[in-house]
């Protein structure tokens, strides 16, 4: 990223290759909208190019990227309404993606998980999705969320407790 900042814009495509999948996943899990997530990935990369001068030496690229991603998410103002865009459902069949191949049962349990996530507060959902990424450590997560490290840890554990309650309510259990 420092090279991009120095003017070697072409390096951005390497960063794109490395990171766009994970970024797409992050955005998708928070919105369940495929087309919108694709658009947001492009927006994030565009903003990183535009504001490349604000990337400071020594900071983590992932941290910066997800920080921008959160801002882009905020700008979108979605409701987390749990419905697949009808176009997206069609696209899944065309693309032959995993969701089209899965059995009905798997699809339903996936949907249940997304439903459960929808019942969390936005902040809880976001922090769990950040926590999910092993490449982000707590200093980075706390910076992305704009809270202290201690608060971030507590937030994660509280979000998990909330989700536990939701799982019980929805009857999501482990198959033994």
């Amino acid at each position: 990223m420092l090279q991009v900042k120095a003017g070697d814009l072409e390096r951005m495509s390497l960063l794109f290759q490395r990171h766009h999948r994970a970024l797409f996943g992050f955005l998708f899990h928070l919105t369940q909208r495929r087309e919108a997530s694709e658009d947001m990935v492009q927006t994030v990369f565009y903003r990183m190019l535009k504001y490349r001068n604000s990337f400071t030496e020594g900071s983590s690229f992932s941290g910066w990227m997800y920080h921008i991603a959160r801002n882009v998410l905020k700008d979108q103002k979605f409701g987390f309404d749990n419905k697949y865009d009808p176009i997206d459902a069609l696209e899944d069949k065309i693309a032959g993606s995993t969701s089209a191949d899965d059995s009905l049962e798997k699809k339903q349990s996936r949907q249940q998980l997304y439903d459960a996530l929808a019942m969390l507060s936005e902040g809880d959902r976001e922090i769990l999705m950040l926590n999910r990424m092993k490449e982000l450590n707590y200093p980075e997560i706390s910076e992305i969320m704009g809270i202290s490290q201690g608060a971030a840890r507590v937030r994660v554990s509280r979000a998990v407790e909330e989700l536990k309650k939701i799982f019980i309510k929805k009857g999501i259990k482990k198959d033994s």
Partner: protein, 262 residues
């Protein structure tokens, strides 16, 4: 029992491997003695694993195309006309042979003015070096030309260079790995194949096996590896075969290539 509350706050972090050694050890000791907390851990693990294992759909291929378009557009908007660019576009016009002629004349004239020495051969060598450098610099600039045909032309100039140095090899690899046009990348690959006697070319080509995603290029790399009899490619090719969604034609060819190389 009050400690449990504190320990339970750490269960999620422990499960994700985000606790430092001391805190982890403390928690583990507690867990050994506390069935309730063990139960809580099981629940935490289940919840975290469920959401962490959620798979997002594969981002579609057109995302790369769109990104490319955005990047090219962005670069174009950022570029300001530079004097250097104007000089090169002047050079690239049909007057080029004339420019070369002029340069050669100047070199010869310069050599004459400096006084004839016994080292006639040496001067001619310098002359060649001057022209060579000119061509190389021109080639490097042309690799950024907006027209794919000009970029292919630039790649073809490597055949004319008597000595190929690191800058040129780097430029060819950058083109192979980043050019938006498949055919330009293909021509860069072919140019690199002709430079197979440079060890860094071989290493670079082996690396590109895992980074190239265009089936046309993947097929061509397989052909080149076979031609160069480069056994170092066997391992990355085997890795490539594990890739889901690999083009069937590429799969067949890579399998064939591995068999022929072993």
């Amino acid at each position: 029992m009050n400690d449990c509350e504190e320990y339970r706050e750490r269960l999620a972090d422990w499960h994700m491997g985000r606790l430092d050694a001391a805190a982890a050890a403390g928690l583990e000791r507690h867990l050994n003695n506390c069935a309730d907390c063990r139960e809580a851990l099981a629940a935490t693990a289940f919840v975290l694993d469920s959401i962490n294992n959620l798979q997002a759909p594969e981002p579609p291929a057109n995302m790369k195309v769109d990104f490319r378009a955005m990047l090219d557009d962005f670069k174009a908007k950022e570029k300001k006309p530079v004097f250097r660019d104007r000089v090169w576009s002047w050079l690239l016009q049909p007057r080029l042979p004339l420019a070369y002629g002029l340069i050669i004349l100047l070199c010869i004239g310069g050599a004459y003015l400096l006084g004839r020495s016994n080292k006639q051969g040496h001067e001619i060598q310098e002359l060649h070096a001057g022209v060579q450098e000119q061509k190389q610099t021109m080639m490097l600039a042309m690799l950024d030309n907006p027209l794919a045909s000009e970029r292919i032309k630039a790649v073809s100039y490597t055949n004319d260079l008597k000595k190929v140095d690191d800058k040129v090899i780097d430029a060819l690899f950058t083109t192979l790995n980043n050019d938006p046009n498949v055919n330009v990348r293909l021509s860069a690959l072919e140019a690199l194949a002709a430079l197979g006697n440079h060890p860094e070319v071989r290493t670079g080509l082996i690396k590109s096996i895992s980074t190239q995603d265009s089936p046309v290029i993947q097929l061509a790399i397989a052909d080149v590896m076979l031609k160069l009899q480069e056994k170092g490619s066997i391992s990355p090719f085997k890795q490539l075969l594990k890739q889901r969604g690999l083009d069937e034609n590429v799969r067949d060819k890579v399998k064939q290539t591995i068999t022929k190389l072993i």
